[in-house]
């Protein structure tokens, strides 16, 4: 589904991605972990088109998308949950999701009211992420946890083939984290998911495979069990963050 080959990104003198090669099969759920500054968010942004790579190629379903704009990638079925929430602050939760629903049909529908079906679909997605009853609340009036849920709802409403999740549980309470983790775990198995996450419980609950980034390079790549046992991974990351049984 996704094939990343020798991806490089240099910011001034800083090498954020130093030749990353990575491939995800259709329906695969892959976590990317690594210490701060490892290049995780740069990788997600390069996939979404928010950052132009300095070198290398990205393929989506066989098509080279390295130079495509973010909106073109979204049309190809890529959805992006940003690390820092990007919503329409004064609009209601329902309108936030409805804009994602409407994106599939395009904006050039003039001189008629917004179809009710789009609002109904938006309400259904909001219910799925646990925001039932909050449809009319402006995005900026929601709690931090609710905004992350809404951000996920917006991405799901795009009906993507590939979901890029950049720390979806950041700043959430343990209860909210558990709920959103189960929600993601329960998504359609045909959906390909790439998730960047610091919470190892979330990573090991969701991911089929785990890729460890360190200083812009892949230092380990394997099943969750492989990565737990990898000594280098413990040195750079896991050993400091959690105790692994």
């Amino acid at each position: 589904m996704i094939e990343i080959r020798d991806l490089r990104r240099v910011f001034g003198g800083v090498v954020a991605l130093d030749g990353v090669t990575l491939s995800l099969g259709e329906g695969e759920r892959r976590a990317v972990i690594g210490p701060n500054g490892a290049g995780k968010t740069t990788l997600i942004n390069a996939l979404a088109g928010e950052t132009t790579p300095t070198g290398g190629t990205i393929r989506l379903g066989g098509q080279d998308i390295t130079r495509l704009r973010p909106w073109q990638r979204a049309r190809l079925g890529l959805a992006h949950v940003f690390q820092r929430t990007e919503l329409f602050a004064p609009l209601s939760a329902r309108d936030n999701v409805a804009l994602a629903v409407a994106a599939r049909r395009g904006p050039y529908r003039l001189f008629r009211a917004v179809p009710r079906a789009e609002y109904a679909e938006a309400a259904a997605v909001l219910e799925r992420v646990g925001l039932a009853g909050r449809e009319g609340v402006a995005a900026r009036a929601l709690s931090h946890g609710e905004r992350r849920q809404l951000e996920l709802a917006v991405a799901l409403a795009q009906r993507p083939h590939v979901l890029l999740l950049d720390e979806p549980t950041a700043g959430m309470s343990p209860l909210e984290t558990a709920r959103i983790t189960e929600l993601i775990a329960g998504l359609d198995r045909a959906l390909t998911i790439l998730i960047v996450e610091h919470d190892m419980d979330v990573v090991f609950r969701l991911a089929d495979r785990v890729t460890v980034l360190h200083e812009g390079r892949v230092i380990a790549d394997g099943t969750a069990a492989d990565v737990r046992g990898d000594v280098r991974v413990h040195d750079v990351y896991l050993g400091k963050a959690v105790t692994v049984a």
């Binding site: 909106w71 990007e86 609009l91 904006p107 917004v114």
Partner: protein
């Protein structure tokens, strides 16, 4: 229903007001409605799509010249020809300027629209052979639609009022459509819109062309009404006037630009007529009103009205 009655009353104003209102009232209302059409078109950019353009007069002026020049060069006074020329020139100018500005934002967008509109103004001011240069373009004929002659002041008013009603309907229809909501999405978070799959540069450009077309039509109505086009119609002063109208009335609302045009027209036209002639303070007064709204009522008259209504209805 109420809106339809109001529209009918507005269009027929010169006929039922004749016993008590002067000719001046019809002229005043006519000019206020032209300003309202102009401001409604600018609000599509400023209020809906979040593009604070300071160059909107380029399209108004372009439309005014197009109507006048088309009428003279083609020796016709048929409304579809001259108004069509105005709409076309407004649209084409907006397309050309739009392509150059839609990828910039904030202060850069403001300055770019201002600079590009000043180029249009400079062309109007210097291309004397076509535009009349600093003398302006005079002797513009009132239009005809088939055999209807709009040369009487009352019928000229009716033409303006009907066009105003149609323009307000168009803007209202756009605002409630998926298109209008997408423009608000661009205003609130362009990055998110792109991530959703919207080509936001094209969306902004389309709004620019629609707004330019309507502004061009407003310019043509101004040219018919005053039978004159001045380079100032395309100048910065006229752009600022529309901008002030939108902000005083309330950006992003249908009623705002309409109410704003009433306020601005009253200050420009009625205040000088009740004060001594050597006291020319209407521009200073307009400036003060504008500063007042920017400091104390960012949502304009529409916002003041809404909060007053909420206070009353809560009791």
């Amino acid at each position: 229903m109420l809106v339809a009655l109001g529209a009918a009353a507005l269009v027929t104003f010169p006929y039922w007001s004749a016993p008590w209102a002067s000719r001046f009232a019809t002229t005043l209302l006519r000019d206020a409605l032209i300003l309202a059409i102009f401001a409604l078109s600018l609000d599509l950019l400023v209020g809906r799509a979040g593009m604070p353009s300071l160059g909107h007069a380029a399209f108004f002026g372009g439309g005014a010249y197009a109507a006048g020049i088309a009428g003279q060069q083609l020796a016709t006074d048929q409304l579809p020809v001259t108004l069509g020329a105005a709409a076309l020139v407004g649209a084409v100018l907006a397309l050309v300027i739009g392509v150059l500005v839609v990828r910039s934002e904030g202060i850069f967008f403001l300055m770019l629209t201002l600079a590009l509109a000043q180029i249009v103004f400079a062309i109007a001011f210097q291309w004397t052979a076509v535009t009349g240069g600093s003398n302006g373009l005079s002797g513009i004929g009132r239009p005809m639609l088939a055999s209807i002659d709009f040369s009487s002041p009352d019928l000229m008013y009716v033409l303006v009022a009907v066009t105003f009603v149609l323009a307000a309907l168009v803007v209202w229809g756009l605002a409630r459509s998926p298109y209008g909501r997408a423009l608000i999405g661009v205003r609130e978070n362009e990055r998110r819109m792109r991530a959703l799959g919207y080509d936001t540069a094209r969306l902004r450009l389309s709004a620019f062309v629609i707004a330019g077309t309507i502004a061009g039509i407003a310019g043509a109505l101004s040219a018919y009404s005053t039978r004159f086009v001045s380079a100032q119609d395309a100048g910065l002063g006229n752009s600022v006037r529309a901008f002030v109208t939108v902000l005083v009335g309330g950006a992003g609302t249908l009623g705002g630009p309409i109410v704003g045009s009433a306020v601005v027209s009253l200050i420009e036209r009625v205040v000088p007529s009740i004060l001594p002639t050597d006291l020319r303070i209407s521009e200073a007064l307009l400036g003060l009103v504008f500063i007042g709204f920017v400091l104390f009522a960012r949502q304009g008259m529409a916002g003041l009205g809404r909060s007053a209504w909420l206070r009353v209805s809560r009791r």
